[in-house]
Symmetry: C2
Subunit: 128 residues, 2 copies
DNA sequence: CTATCATTTAGACGAACGTCGAAACACCCG
DNA sequence: CGGGTGTTTCGACGTTCGTCTAAATGATAG
């Protein structure tokens, strides 16, 4: 495993984080963009994974090991591992084994992409 | 159905209006908040619904009728209707029948809640 | 009132998902 | 090396999801 195995477009996005698509109400999403984003959203659309992501992201030091996470749930270790794998495959978190424990951290670029999608409807682009 | 339960949209719509929770990496989500948000995210975690939402939101005049939407997909009308119902049940869109056609519009408060969730991991964690 | 068009409901089916127990793999410590 | 702990993979099971066809409901025009 070692770090991410994300198959996402990770080339030269530079400082552009949510550059894939405009906010959802700005212009119709293309079929491809929608499919790609749906994969990302599916990964997050689960109470357990949502809490995992939140726990990892808000953990002191920016990372958390599985041992920190499992106790918060009434689920078996394989199940937690499965959910972490889903998040990792989606490119939302990275992981690394250091000695006995495996550590996880958030990949902000990916999360920001979701933020950009639903972002500022407040300043609508209805100006045309 | 009909005019659904439209909870007044044009109120003061700051981006933090219905924000139930801090950005995902600020503090761990409670079990309840996670469950509630997962329902919202599941509603959006589908390519078809994502495009529907986007088409509705970006449509001129702020609303679109089903007849505007069905043609963009290779799906039967019942299937589109099903997806619209999911979005409506989640509180993401509102609907109203006017004569022959049914019109849909986005409910920005709900969308903004998602935006706030994934929002500013890097940017405005500002003075606070 | 009947014909017709637009949309939703009802029921069914296969695919995908969340969970588990058992087993395998990875690493640390005597 | 062998035992022990932490984590992931493997199969399996029941549930949920996306789609369809067929039929029902709503509204307008003759």
């Amino acid at each position: 495993m070692t770090s991410t195995t994300l198959p996402l477009v990770r080339a030269g996005q530079g400082a552009q984080e949510g550059a894939c698509c405009a906010p959802i109400a700005r212009e119709p999403l293309s079929e491809g963009d929608a499919a790609e984003l749906a994969v990302l959203l599916k990964a997050v659309a689960d109470p357990v994974r949502l809490r995992l992501l939140s726990m990892i992201g808000s953990h002191a030091g920016g990372e958390a090991c599985v041992c920190d996470l499992t106790d918060a749930f009434d689920l078996t270790a394989p199940t937690i591992s499965h959910h972490l794998k889903v998040l990792r495959t989606a490119g939302l978190i990275g992981s690394e084994r250091r000695g006995t424990w495996v550590y996880y951290w958030i990949i902000p670029e990916t999360v920001n992409r979701l933020g950009a999608l639903f972002a500022p409807l407040t300043a609508p682009a209805v100006a045309q």
